[in-house]
């Protein structure tokens, strides 16, 4: 079942240094996402992947985004953990709970992410890897139908990235993953949409487990 249909005519951003002028960032982009599928939006830094994700979630107004069954509940994991530094780990997670959400789920959630006992700590005591895991916990606490991951593994050391990939693999929600790291695609995605060009368009769509995928993407 299709949960998301993207038929974006294009998107322009303000030109740096030229007041009132715009420049195209995204060209026409079209794809669909099925329920339970993890789709990676793969492309170089600055090509507009995050902007596309914001358009999809309605954080930036735009046209061409359709949720056939109605807008689902979404939750983000950003590249920056974006935790409130003045709130404890548990409070940060609690703020994302749905209106009828129960705080009692937080200890189990922290436990499942290897953060047992860290609920009362403030974020400035956490390493980047731990903060990212808290950000994942916060996203899961929001009980989302669709998970939006914006480079959630960037800047992590190999062990921390591997641990977080294992956590994300466990939760098979419909997921859109923005990344420029092939290891994330290989570990997490069912399908990869390769973006590139100026303005950015789709250069290719592949099954993530297709043999020789890295070479085929590199050849684009």
């Amino acid at each position: 079942m299709t949960v998301l249909r993207v038929d974006l005519p294009g998107y322009a951003i303000p030109s740096p240094g030229a007041a009132g002028r715009t420049q195209p960032l995204l060209g026409p982009i079209g794809f669909e996402v099925a329920a339970g599928e993890t789709v990676a939006l793969f492309g170089p830094s600055g090509c507009g992947k995050t902007t596309l994700l914001k358009l999809i979630d309605g954080l930036i107004p735009g046209t061409g985004i359709t949720w056939p069954s109605g807008k689902p509940r979404t939750a983000w994991v950003f590249q920056e953990p974006s935790l409130l530094p003045w709130r404890s780990v548990a409070d940060n997670i609690a703020l994302a709970l749905p209106a009828a959400g129960d705080r009692a789920i937080i200890p189990a959630l922290l436990d499942s992410l290897g953060l047992a006992g860290w609920g009362d700590a403030f974020p400035n005591r956490l390493s980047l890897g731990m903060a990212r895991r808290v950000a994942v916990a916060r996203a899961l606490a929001a009980a989302p139908d669709v998970l939006l991951l914006d480079e959630p593994l960037a800047s992590l050391d190999a062990a921390a990235a591997q641990g977080l990939r294992a956590v994300l693999r466990r939760h098979r929600l419909t997921t859109l993953l923005v990344t420029h790291d092939f290891a994330d695609v290989a570990a997490l995605a069912d399908r990869v949409i390769v973006l590139g060009g100026n303005p950015t368009v789709i250069r290719g769509v592949f099954d993530a487990w297709a043999p020789g995928l890295a070479e085929r993407i590199a050849a684009l």
Partner: protein, 255 residues
């Protein structure tokens, strides 16, 4: 308020510091032996008299009421204006010149004009004092709003926090240092301006009493009222503002 080791050391330091000031004053007064500089003991005796007669609590209470009203008005109005100016560039362009003009307007001018336009009333005095502080509070909060973390604002929107939840949990904690700064400088300015407003147009309050003492060349009376007021301001700082600031900043100390 906890009274642990550091708190006890802070209190001891303050007592020693104030004691040193009182000792220097006493020595200077004994050496000067003049009506214009009474001794600490003479001033304390006068303070005791004024408290016993009920005059000091009456006038101090009225002045504190004016300070509290003007402080609340200037802080709420200035914060709302500053946040609005920091959030909307066009509004800022429209009102930036007004703010610069108002922040540089002498307190006396605002007080005199308020008494002329609004009459010699209680609220004229309070509004005049509040208007003296409001522009600088607005400027501070405008800077604070401009410095808000856009990534946290994006997170709040992404998790559909809504306006009130975003304001309370994301915006307000970031603005707290600016609000505390505005509160500190606000209290310092407002209580001085309130006394001027009382001298010019009220028949009660600490400012009025100081004016009466001045007419009678009663320096002990002037110092007794000044000390009483200074003690209240110090009490507010130590009992309310500083513990609140420590509470709000406890996450910084937790690393």
């Amino acid at each position: 308020m906890s009274f642990d080791g550091p708190a006890r050391a802070r209190l001891l330091g303050r007592i020693v510091s104030l004691g040193l000031l009182a000792a220097l004053w006493q020595i200077a007064a004994l050496l000067a032996h003049s009506r214009t500089l009474p001794t600490v003991t003479a001033v304390l005796a006068r303070l005791d008299e004024e408290i016993a007669s009920g005059a000091l609590p009456h006038h101090l209470g009225i002045t504190l009421f004016r300070v509290a009203c003007a402080f609340a008005l200037s802080l709420l109005g200035g914060a709302a204006l500053g946040i609005a100016l920091g959030s909307w560039r066009r509004l800022d362009l429209l009102f930036d010149g007004w703010l610069i003009a108002f922040v540089n307007l002498p307190a006396l001018v605002i007080i005199v004009l308020a008494y002329i336009w609004l009459g010699m009333t209680e609220w004229a005095a309070i509004v005049a004092v509040a208007l003296n502080k409001l522009p600088s509070t607005a400027i501070l909060l405008r800077e604070g709003t401009r410095a808000l973390d856009p990534q946290l604002a994006l997170m709040a929107r992404a998790f559909r926090f809504g306006r009130w939840k975003s304001f309370r949990h994301v915006m307000l904690p970031q603005l707290t240092p600016y609000l505390l700064g505005a509160s500190r400088s606000g209290l310092a300015l407002i209580w001085k301006v309130v006394l001027v407003a009382e001298i010019l147009g009220r028949s009660d309050g600490v400012g009025f009493q100081i004016e009466v003492c001045f007419q009678l060349f009663d320096v002990a009376g002037i110092l007794a009222y000044t000390i009483a007021f200074a003690l209240v301001v110090l009490g507010l700082e130590w009992i309310l503002l500083q513990p609140f600031e420590r509470h709000m900043n406890r996450w910084r100390l937790a690393s």
